[in-house]
C-alpha cells in the first residue's frame, strides 16, 4: 500500500517512514487537523476524524506541557491492548506538522522514534517555502455547491456518477 498525500513533497519521507518503521497507520497533518498525507486508511472521512482527534491530543498535550513544564510536550505515546500510538511534531518551513502513527508488535516505540527522527529531518529538508496559491474554483461554483448541499440534505436527487455534485470514490 502506498501513502496518499495532499502535497507531493511529503510523499517520499512519509513512505520511507512507513516502510522502515513498519507501522500500520500514519497521518501527517497540520496542527489545525488538516491532513497532508496518510497511510493505512481506506475512507477519507475516517482520515478526517483521526486527524481531528490527533490534532486535539497533540494540542492538549502541548498546552498541558506549557502548564506543567513551561514548554509544550512534543511527543506523546499511548499503549493500547494490541496497538500503540505515537504522536510527535515536526517543524518545517511550512510550519509545524504533526505525525500520528499506530503500530503493533511488528514494530516498537524505539523503532518508531528512531525513524520519526529521520522523517522529521527529511521533512525539514524537503519542505518548499510557502507559496501563495491561486484560485481553484470557477466563478460560478455556487451552482455546484447548492446542488451538493441539496443532495446532502435530501432536497434533490443524487447526481449520477460523474455529474457535478457526485461524490468521488473514497480516498
Amino acid at each position: 500500500m502506498r501513502a496518499r498525500v495532499a502535497e507531493a513533497w511529503v510523499e517520499a519521507p512519509l513512505q520511507r517512514f512507513v516502510d522502515d518503521a513498519r507501522v500500520q497507520f500514519a497521518l501527517l497533518l497540520h496542527p489545525s487537523g488538516q491532513v497532508l498525507g496518510q497511510f493505512g486508511f481506506t475512507r477519507a472521512v475516517d482520515v478526517m476524524a483521526a486527524c481531528a482527534l490527533g490534532a486535539a491530543i497533540h494540542a492538549s498535550a502541548g498546552e498541558l506541557g506549557k502548564e506543567l513544564d513551561g514548554h509544550p510536550f512534543r511527543e506523546l505515546y499511548h499503549a493500547g491492548r494490541d496497538r500503540q500510538v505515537f504522536i510527535a511534531e515536526a517543524p518545517t518551513a511550512r510550519g509545524a506538522l504533526v505525525l500520528l502513527t499506530a503500530f503493533d508488535a511488528e514494530s516498537s516505540l524505539g523503532l518508531v522514534q528512531v525513524y520519526f527522527r529521520e522523517l522529521r529531518d527529511a521533512l525539514r529538508d524537503a519542505a518548499p517555502p510557502p507559496v501563495e496559491s491561486g484560485p481553484a474554483l470557477d466563478v460560478n461554483f455556487e451552482q455546484d455547491l447548492n446542488r451538493s448541499l441539496a443532495v446532502l440534505f435530501g432536497r434533490a436527487q443524487s447526481p449520477a456518477p460523474g455529474d457535478a455534485g457526485a461524490p468521488r470514490p473514497p480516498a
Partner: protein, 115 residues
C-alpha cells in the same frame, strides 16, 4: 549518575575492543542504560538490535528450537552481539579484532547479574 545497571554494563565495556554496550527493552526498543563511545547513536542501535533480537527469538521459538542464547552479527567494521532475559536485551558493539568469546562470556555473566 550510577544506576543498578551501571556496573553490569561496565563489566562488558571493559573488555578489549568493545565500542559500546546497550541495555534495551525488547518489546518497545527503549534504552534502559547505555555506555557507548562518542559517535555511536545508542538509541538507534538499541532499537534496531532489540527488534532484531525479538524477531530471532520468535523465529527460534516458532521453529521449536527454544529461545535464543546468543546472537552475533558480523559486519564489515565490527560485530553486534545480543543476549536477552526477562524482556531485556543486552547489545554489545565491538571492533572486528575483538575477542568474541570473551565478550560472549562477559555478556552472559552480566545478564545473570542483572538486578
Amino acid at each position: 549518575m550510577s544506576t543498578p545497571y551501571t556496573d553490569v554494563l561496565s563489566a562488558v565495556t571493559r573488555q578489549r575492543g568493545v565500542l559500546g554496550c546497550i541495555l534495551v527493552s525488547e518489546a518497545d526498543g527503549i534504552i534502559v542504560e547505555a555506555n557507548v563511545q562518542v559517535g555511536i547513536e545508542a538509541g538507534v542501535a538499541g532499537a534496531l538490535v532489540a527488534s532484531l533480537y525479538r524477531r530471532a527469538r520468535l523465529g527460534t521459538d516458532a521453529a521449536g528450537l527454544a529461545t535464543v542464547g546468543f546472537l552475533q552479527l558480523e559486519a564489515e567494521q565490527g560485530h553486534v552481539c545480543a543476549v536477552g532475559r526477562d524482556g531485556l536485551v543486552l547489545a554489545t558493539l565491538a571492533e572486528p579484532k575483538a575477542h568474541i568469546g570473551l565478550i560472549r562470556s562477559a555478556m552472559l555473566h552480566a545478564m545473570e547479574a542483572l538486578p
